[in-house]
Symmetry: C2
Subunit: 920 residues, 2 copies
């Protein structure tokens, strides 16, 4: 304005935000490309989204119980110390401590409602002091709950955005160059083909135009388009500026029948909807509505699901290969051959008798489906797949970081948790009492001595829990052994025939039920243990909780499977000297054809059962049930549901939704699934397919939950998925070694190879079955252990066979482990070494070959840097130019030191508005 | 000043740089704590360190050949495009291309001196355009060389510092709180004990006071102490601002006899000096003088050397343990026992005869020194040591980053190399010609098609070079075999007695010489291959070069050792069916007691020889030689050395020093040494000790080189050691698996264990030697291969023994591999798996347990953040306060939007200097 007075216009080149008021024409043009940013929110957020004056938007809502009515006693105390951020980070520790008493210990002050109210007043006063504007609404339709609506005015938003180093789009627009030539044609073709897979989320901006982003700073305000200050920061940014956790308002109703849409409705239609399951997710919109952290989860889930497509394809092909080659498989052919008359030793003491190997024909054929050379290839493939997945995720994350203007954003330091501060206070108080000092000691921290009891409890409890898992697995084994023995002794022939089926089915179901129950128990135990530890920050709390939960759930899910894969059938002893549990039960054997078949059955039951039950029952069923209960309750509460829907303020409606409980359970479920997909993939090539089918539903299920069932969580910024990435890496690493062992020890792959290349007379597999079976002279059975029915097969048996590499009875060292055993063992171990190292090397090569930053992104970042430098240089030159043309006595140091300029110019009193020089 | 006119003083609180001129008393106080920063440089940099006016400092020097005198024809063209940074990054590609013609193709324009001069003028003009000040000095005492001295005025420095986001110390000082209680006492005690180990580099600042640092920005100038603008940026920063590579001036002479010191002299006395070898390095000063990149190298080297102390201690203890237990070692006792009369089969065909095992007594005893259970412990220890080293380095790096104000600094994007631009230009030119377009096509890049030939050449050449290494190793083997055979046949008994010694020594020397020669060859080849590749940026060039050089040198150094460790003595066949090379030479066997002894000898010769020769000869000798040559030359050049020393300008004296050639050779040498220390440590526990001794010299040697022999390199900023860290990680990973194999396959550890726990009748080692020897019936020797002197031992031999696990002649399968072989093999492989996975897991745990950021640093960073926020908040409140007290019509949005304030205030025309509001 001063400039206009002095007749100077050129200065305003660098003063754009002001300009727009005076030159609407010019501004209008600039606005065009910018309004898409906030238009959607502009129109349709009405009910209770504004203060009473209809002007100021509600950015954040605090709820508290109102004294006079006692129906709702949930006691959702405002989480203070976050809302108070700017003060908190620089002020004394006394205010967080006060929060603790109010927030964390509030429950103990039951009789002191007045005291609480006073504290609340005090807290609200502090909020006002920081510049926030508050509006109370105690007279709501929901009994017993008071609301405090908070509005952050523009000044506060700017200041906080500057502190948070938020990157915001500037007015400067540039064109993203498309790759030229053949590549462009291919990519445009691909995008045309994939067109129907993209959700219908209108982007108001052409794709090849991008706004240059720059860290928001009030001095460089002129760079940003501030024409519409109400919508410069979108609602998620506004509420995250006000607070970092809590609840903010959903934007509009999903069932509104108006033609125009709001973000929430759009998400509901184009994302949280089973009918669009085949489409990509509108990640940008998800991020815009829910913030980066949730956006990253869905992006990760989406990529994982996408990556499962090739994995399940290859898995199905491997399975089909097994099906196709089952008739050419010589070992199973030999077993099934009618002239095969190998007599096997009894499978249990006394009640079982000798049996013909040919009766195991079916199992042998079925085993081949999962135990063929293609599985070796498949497990190498899956190890590389896992490495590729990690790399792709890194790239996707980088791309999202760029698109979401998070490059250069550093994770903010967490503030100490209230519980931690409370413990510290307790400690220093007790110290004071001991030393009889009345002076407040300097802020102390919890040291190892303070933490030792909690750490010890943690270790002991973790070991105990893992011990419980082991005990339960052992219990199930005992159940299987004893039931089998009992059923074998049954006089009912039908029972005896169905022994295997009965025992296996019931045992697997027991296992599954135990896993599901323990999963819940372990979740609670892990939380309890983490609370005991009193971690300093929220981040550390989350990480410790995740780590513990993961360890427990991992053991819970995989211990029975590891038992079957590596121990079952290996600890049976040999005929005449079996291994007994409790001196009466023989250890279990695997059916002929390796334990891989059983492993596969166990895996599929656990995986499918877990997914079906946890997903359908827990994730769909229970929320439905809760809603039903809430509905019934609200009817009792004497006001009509429908009426409520219509007349309730937005914040009142949101109050009825479930609070957001963090992403941990969602991630955990997926990581355990990732374990199923990678860890034992050698034995179950269909795992990726099942995971894929599950995840397609999972995405939409989670989306529905977030859009309709939960209160809108405050947007949290995040650059990456944090500890989950490390856990994924860990699982992928463990997967390599476990798959190596599964192939070499659980499957018959190595014995077959060894036979073919070392022992086979003609280099074929003929004779393999015979080679793997040792001889036993039935007269060597221990007293009382021999079968009661030796003539069951119709002829007397002198020599029976069993699966092991041992010397025959007629050698000088009968029943000793034979040379073949050692040779096979050596080859097995060699295979493990080679497999592990080759796969690890290949993973590293994949890691190294695929750059972490996608090429186009790195080019674009480079380009943006150049453009920014260019922009600043031009402004600078402009400034110098103006100054030179105006002031003749400009010294050598004019262009950089704004103060100098001012002094010279102030002397001249030329009326020049010097602000322009400084604002750059 | 305006403020003074209006009588307002408080505003100036935020306007300190101005203040100092008017209130010298106040400024003086502030200066006190700050002058240490530049004092040392202030006084003693005289000769030619300033322009002719004695005011402006020389920040950078360009040299060029002067036409009229042709003695010096090195042709050091100014490296233009870097000096032109701000322009280059934003302007068209045309100017770098021009540079190429001048700089890279300059040699071809020999007749066009005028053209060159014109181009130079043009370039200098461009430099002037960017704001730099130039002074020419063509009339120097050095014939044929012209100098252009460059001075960067304050404005340019500020602008560039802002672009580079340099963090500079602000005026705000805070106290670093020392830990209290017991810890403090301990740490003060430790620091007192270590006092004499610290170099005498005076720090003018108390240790517990630290300046708060903030990214330099001209708008926030008032935060920084700019009282002495000449020394706000120190010389290394100034020159790195002007350019990014090239040469800048050393600060003063090291031989000056004046009492006061300059940085260079201080470094020379307290760092580049063998007499202070026991002291820590003054890393801060090194960084101040040479910049972060070189500082990091020496910090890394220092940490590595420090970490070698415990490693060599443990290594010596392990070695001493071997010495102490050599008399209790049952296998060697059995071999040396006088009653032992085992007859061994001949070691070579025909000329050798049977021999008594007891003659191998010495070797067996010596083997025990390196082949005892302690070595297993030691290699686990060293694997963990390597992990600890990596972790400690991460922490040290973090600490240095913090102390050097590099936190938050992002690596700048490199600009394309001139060669790359040239190739791109060539490509687009040829494209244009082909398509007959006269329009300049848009800037293209090199795609895979362009690079394919170079990549193919790379791969082929790399494989070829590795092939050459293998061939040479094979050649040495052949030399050994054939010489041994020839010497055995010699009639001279003395020759025959010294066969082993002669052959081993000559072979090892040949190996060493070959390694040393190939090292140089491979260095050149790698550079050539990288130039062929035309990498885009300098960083990429360096990384590719390092990677290739590393691969080649690694193979070169370790192939012979790997051969000895894993192949020698394993491919000999058995008596009666030996393996022959070229149908006449039997493959080598190891002496009795495993090949570990030979591996150890080879390792020590290679390592010591490499270190001694490469260090002493190449690093000390050759520079001395070069200096001598230069000295002789300068005498021929007809002016006296001494005179020159005294009268020469600083830049003339520096011209005679070697240019800085990068840190790659220094790092490479250390990494190969790290390989020797970790890779085969199981066989040579003294390796860390040798490395330690070498490095103590190496540090001072390198320091001397940097201070006295090389031109001062332009300071380069770096946050980390880049690709070297990844290479270190890779070596540490490979070390784990190689050590596992050395222990299980090269040493006799596993066979001993297997014998003790599986075969020994009494659980002791008695009988182990007998167990490892197989029987051979001498009548089964092939025709013509039996010994010529069967009665050399004095009795006829029917059965001789050889070291292998094979069936005896009287078994049903004579000379077949026995069951023991497979059992031992299986245990060996199992050991490898267990060792590798356990050590990897332990390394991961170490990695996980040790936080990457030292606790005190993370606390301090946190504190600084709080202080900064505090500082800004206070300023803000101050501003608001002033404004509120001055202007009554301040709207709701006053405190953030400077423009608004100005408009309101401009209306009032109160004469208030509004600058203060804006400058924050």
């Amino acid at each position: 304005i001063a400039a206009i007075v002095s007749g100077d216009v050129t200065v305003h080149e660098f003063n754009a935000p002001k300009l727009q008021i005076f030159f609407p024409a010019k501004t209008g043009r600039k606005l065009q490309s910018f309004t898409w940013f906030s238009q959607a929110e502009n129109i349709h957020c009405q009910h209770g989204l504004y203060f009473q004056d209809g002007q100021r938007r509600v950015d954040y809502v605090l709820t508290y119980p109102v004294k006079n009515r006692g129906i709702h006693s949930r006691g959702e105390h405002p989480r203070h110390h976050q809302a108070q951020r700017p003060k908190d980070s620089s002020s004394l520790p006394s205010s967080p401590v006060a929060d603790v008493e109010l927030g964390c210990l509030g429950e103990t002050f039951n009789g002191q409602e007045d005291h609480k109210a006073f504290r609340r007043e005090e807290f609200e006063g502090k909020l006002r002091d920081t510049g926030l504007e508050l509006e109370k609404d105690e007279d709501t339709k929901i009994p017993g709950v008071g609301f405090v609506k908070i509005h952050a005015p523009w000044t506060i938003l700017c200041r906080e955005a500057e502190f948070m180093k938020l990157k915001m789009p500037t007015k400067r627009v540039y064109e993203v160059k498309q790759s030229t030539g053949v590549m462009e044609k291919i990519s445009s073709l691909v995008s045309k083909v994939l067109e129907p897979l993209h959700p219908h989320v209108e982007e108001h901006q052409p794709k090849n135009i991008k706004h240059l982003s720059h860290t928001f700073s009030r001095e460089k305000q002129h760079l940003f388009d501030l024409s519409d200050k109400d919508y410069f920061f979108d609602s998620k940014t506004r509420s995250s500026i006000v607070s970092s956790t809590g609840s903010c308002l959903h934007c509009g109703d999903i069932n509104e029948e108006s033609a125009e849409s709001n973000d929430r409705k759009l998400l509901y239609e184009e994302w949280a909807n089973y009918s669009v399951f085949y489409k990509y997710q509108p990640i940008g919109l998800v991020r815009k509505y829910f913030g980066e952290k949730i956006g990253l989860y869905f992006a990760w889930l989406g990529l994982y699901t996408q990556m499962l497509i090739p994995a399940s394809l290859v898995g199905v092909i491997v399975f089909l290969y097994g099906c196709a080659t089952v008739d050419d498989n010589i070992p199973s052919m030999e077993i099934c051959h009618p002239r095969n008359n190998i007599t096997m030793c009894p499978l249990c003491d006394r009640v079982c008798s000798y049996w013909k190997l040919s009766t195991a024909c079916g199992t042998a054929r079925a085993s081949h489906l999962f135990d063929n050379p293609a599985t070796v290839f498949f497990s190498i493939f899956m190890a590389l797949w896992a490495a590729m997945f990690m790399e792709h995720w890194k790239r996707r994350q980088m791309r999202l970081n760029y698109e979401w203007d998070l490059t250069g954003f550093e994770d903010e330091e967490d503030h100490p948790r209230a519980e931690y501060e409370f413990r510290v206070m307790q400690k220093s108080l007790s110290k004071d009492q001991k030393s009889q000092h009345k002076v407040i000691t300097c802020r102390s921290v919890l040291n190892y001595q303070d933490r030792l009891p909690a750490y010890m409890t943690n270790i002991v409890m973790m070991l105990l829990m893992i011990g419980v898992t082991f005990a339960i697995v052992f219990g199930v084994i005992l159940y299987r052994i004893s039931t089998k023995a009992a059923l074998h002794m049954s006089s009912n022939p039908t029972t005896r025939n169905h022994v295997q089926l009965t025992v296996k089915t019931t045992a697997a179901i027991i296992n599954l039920v135990v896993i599901l129950i323990l999963d819940e128990v372990y979740g609670a135990v892990a939380r309890w243990l983490t609370v005991l530890e009193v971690p300093k920050t929220d981040k550390s709390f989350e990480e410790r909780l995740i780590f513990k939960t993961f360890i427990l759930k991992f053991f819970n899910a995989f211990t029975p499977i590891i038992y079957i894969a590596f121990f079952r059938g290996r600890l049976v002893g040999r005929p005449g000297s079996y291994l007994y549990v409790f001196e009466s039960y023989r250890m279990e054997e695997c059916a002929h054809g390796g334990c891989l078949m059983e492993l596969c059955i166990q895996l599929s039951i656990t995986m499918l059962g877990k997914q079906l039950i946890q997903n359908n029952l827990f994730e769909i069923g229970i929320p439905k049930l809760k809603k039903l209960i809430r509905y019934i309750r609200s009817k009792q509460g004497a006001f009509q549901e429908e009426e409520r829907q219509k007349k309730l303020q937005r914040y009142e409606a949101d109050h009825f939704l479930e609070p957001f409980a963090g992403l941990t359970p969602e991630y955990m479920e997926m990581i355990i699934q990732f374990g199923f997909v990678t860890l034992f993939v050698a034995s179950f090539p269909l795992a990726p397919l099942f995971a894929l089918l599950n995840n397609i539903i999972e995405i939409r299920l989670d989306a529905k939950k977030f859009v309709t069932e939960l209160r809108r969580p405050v947007a949290a910024r995040a650059k990456d998925i944090g500890i989950w990435y490390n856990i994924l890496r860990g699982v992928a690493k463990v997967a390599v070694i476990i798959n190596a062992f599964v192939i070499s020890f659980t499957s018959d792959f190595i014995p077959r190879m060894v036979y073919q290349y070392m022992y086979s007379p003609d280099g074929s597999m003929h004779g393999f079955v015979n080679h793997t079976l040792s001889y036993f002279n039935v007269s060597h059975f221990q007293e009382g252990k021999e079968t009661m029915d030796p003539l069951q097969l119709g002829y007397p048996v002198e020599i029976c066979r069993y699966k092991d590499y041992r010397e025959p009875p007629w050698s000088t060292t009968p029943y000793e482990i034979s040379k073949e055993f050692w040779a096979v063992l050596a080859v097995r171990l060699a295979f493990v070494i080679v497999f592990q190292n080759v796969v690890m090397l290949m993973s590293d090569v994949v890691d190294w070959l695929i750059p972490d930053i996608p090429k186009d992104i790195s080019l674009q970042i480079h380009k943006e840097k150049i453009l920014l430098v260019d922009l600043f240089m031009k402004e600078e030159q402009g400034k110098v130019h103006i100054l030179e043309s105006r002031t003749s006595a400009v010294g050598k140091e004019n262009c950089s030191s704004g103060n100098n300029n001012n002094s010279t110019m102030a002397h001249q009193r030329s009326g020049l508005h010097t602000n322009s020089t400084n604002s750059f």
